[in-house]
């Protein structure tokens, strides 16, 4: 059996006296899609920092397979308006040549934005530019922090559909973090429900029945967990509008 792309064993993170995360154990291999959900302050962003290696665990271990290429789509990037930057140059900083950049942008459906200033993009457009930048590195591990934030339901499902097909294409492990319970990718293998520790885990259909899950989010909210399924009769453009 091959070594997982990333594995956590009893990993914990502490800032001073505050335990942000504790006793996290899970691993991901190529092709896995894991969705982490949890309320605000559950430590979702800290978990991402642990996996990315930006933070070192204060207990336990976080191990990335040696030489793993990581693609990262950060949450809500604030760009300095004083820094002029075109989409093409932004991707170029990740180290791709012209053709690779065009290809990545086309793959995420934003090829027409290549020469646009990053300051003129909408939230949804910028998410796709960030995604294009991440896949430019041909990642084995793709990490997305609240990728669907600020998108409407159609935009969200279009984005999730895209992420799924990118997973199929690149055969990478995908870790998505979300505070939004309403839409979880259907092809998610595992939902991790996080609140300092892993409260419960399971397939999306199962987890909404889990008492720990209901307790964390409240009965009403927990019942709204919707599993997003593919609709192959149409697709969506950047804005979530249906295109035949």
């Amino acid at each position: 059996m091959t070594e997982p792309v990333v594995s956590l064993e009893d990993a914990g993170l502490r800032y001073g006296e505050t335990h942000v995360l504790h006793d996290l154990t899970f691993s991901m291999s190529e092709g896995d899609i894991v969705t982490v959900i949890g309320p605000n302050g559950a430590g979702k962003t800290s978990l991402i920092k642990l996996i990315l290696g930006i933070e070192k665990p204060s207990s336990g271990s976080v191990r990335q397979r040696a030489g793993t290429r990581v693609g990262y789509v950060p949450q809500r990037m604030t760009l300095q308006p004083t820094l002029p930057l075109t989409v093409r140059r932004f991707l170029g900083l990740a180290g791709g040549d012209g053709r690779a950049i065009e290809g990545a942008l086309a793959r995420t459906g934003v090829a027409q934005l290549a020469d646009e200033s990053v300051h003129h993009l909408s939230g949804g457009e910028f998410q796709r530019v960030l995604l294009a930048r991440a896949i430019l590195r041909r990642p084995q591990l793709l990490i997305l922090d609240e990728p669907a934030q600020g998108l409407d339901v159609n935009g969200q499902s279009a984005l999730y559909e895209l992420i799924q097909s990118l997973r199929d294409e690149l055969d990478c492990a995908v870790l998505t973090v979300s505070h939004d319970l309403h839409v979880v990718m259907a092809s998610t293998d595992t939902v991790l429900c996080l609140n300092g520790h892993i409260c419960c885990r399971g397939q999306p259909e199962q987890i909404s029945q889990d008492p720990a899950f209901t307790q964390l989010f409240g009965e009403h909210l927990a019942n709204t967990l919707a599993v997003y399924h593919h609709h192959h009769n149409h697709s969506h453009d950047v804005h979530g509008d249906t295109v035949p």
Binding site: L52, M77, T82, P84, L85, F90, L93
Partner: protein, 268 residues
């Protein structure tokens, strides 16, 4: 005109000014992008402390300026990790304290008859051949380092964590940027003086912003505008007998005003 060029000290001043402006362009962009204007001021003020200490211990002034600037940069970097004081308060304390300590130390050594105005506002026309060599060497070093580290510096400016994930050594890059700023401030001091150095860094960069679509272009345009300001300011200084350093800054400000007025009048 020929007279103007043949005057040796004027030619030296022009060459020194052009070299500093060339290097200050890209670094000034980082100061603007990363909102480090106040940080630049603080480093510049500490340069006066460097002069005072260098004079007191009779060491090479350029060396003591660089050392004090670098030391202050490192102290600032360490102190900024604590949360109890806002960073602008911290900068204000260090900036004005180092300026005041520098002035007090210089005051205690009255017999050395130091030209304080020269240090505060620059003494471009007094640049000697050794100064020019120092500027050329320091400038070439900073420029090469800027080009070498360009992509990493840009990435930590755009998104620190993304940069870290992509393998950039973010802590080292931040330190390198501070060291380069310290060096450029130490070399630029002769040209515009302690109180006006930040102007030479940020005004050409800010003026270049509306003309540029990529960071590289902005850096190059900032260099060109800075060099233009040196030529225009020195010409003004020659003909009107105005102080050289402030004249250069006034010229830069002129470029800035003109470019932003043109920009405001033409819809993007």
């Amino acid at each position: 005109m020929i007279d103007l060029i043949l005057n040796d000290f004027f030619w030296r001043a022009m060459a020194g000014g052009l070299m500093v402006a060339l290097v200050a362009g890209p670094l000034g962009c980082f100061v603007v992008w990363r909102r480090m204007a106040y940080f630049g001021d603080t480093l510049a003020h500490s340069a006066l402390l460097g002069i005072a200490l260098g004079t007191a211990f009779q060491t090479n002034l350029n060396l003591s300026i660089v050392l004090v600037c670098v030391l202050l940069a490192v102290i600032l970097m360490l102190l900024s990790r604590q949360q109890s004081l806002a960073s602008d308060t911290l900068l204000g304390i260090l900036s004005h304290s180092s300026l005041a300590i520098g002035l007090v130390v210089l005051g205690m050594m009255q017999d050395f008859s130091i030209d304080l105005t020269g240090y505060l506002f620059g003494d471009l026309l007094a640049i000697n051949q050794k100064d020019l060599l120092w500027i050329a060497l320091g400038g070439a070093f900073i420029l090469m380092l800027t080009i070498w580290l360009w992509r990493g510096l840009l990435m930590i400016t755009i998104h620190e964590e993304l940069a870290a994930v992509e393998g950039h050594r973010t802590g080292l890059l931040r330190l390198a940027l501070m060291l380069m700023l310290s060096l450029v401030i130490a070399t630029a001091m002769k040209i515009v003086g302690v109180l006006l150095i930040t102007a030479l860094l940020i005004i050409p960069a800010a003026a270049a912003r509306p003309l540029a679509a990529t960071p590289e272009r902005m850096a190059m345009i900032a260099s060109v505008l800075g060099m233009g300001s040196v030529v225009a300011g020195m010409t003004l200084s020659w003909h009107m007998d105005t102080p050289a350093g402030p004249s250069v800054v006034v010229a830069a400000f002129g470029f800035f005003l003109v470019l932003w007025v043109i920009r405001a009048r033409s819809p993007a």
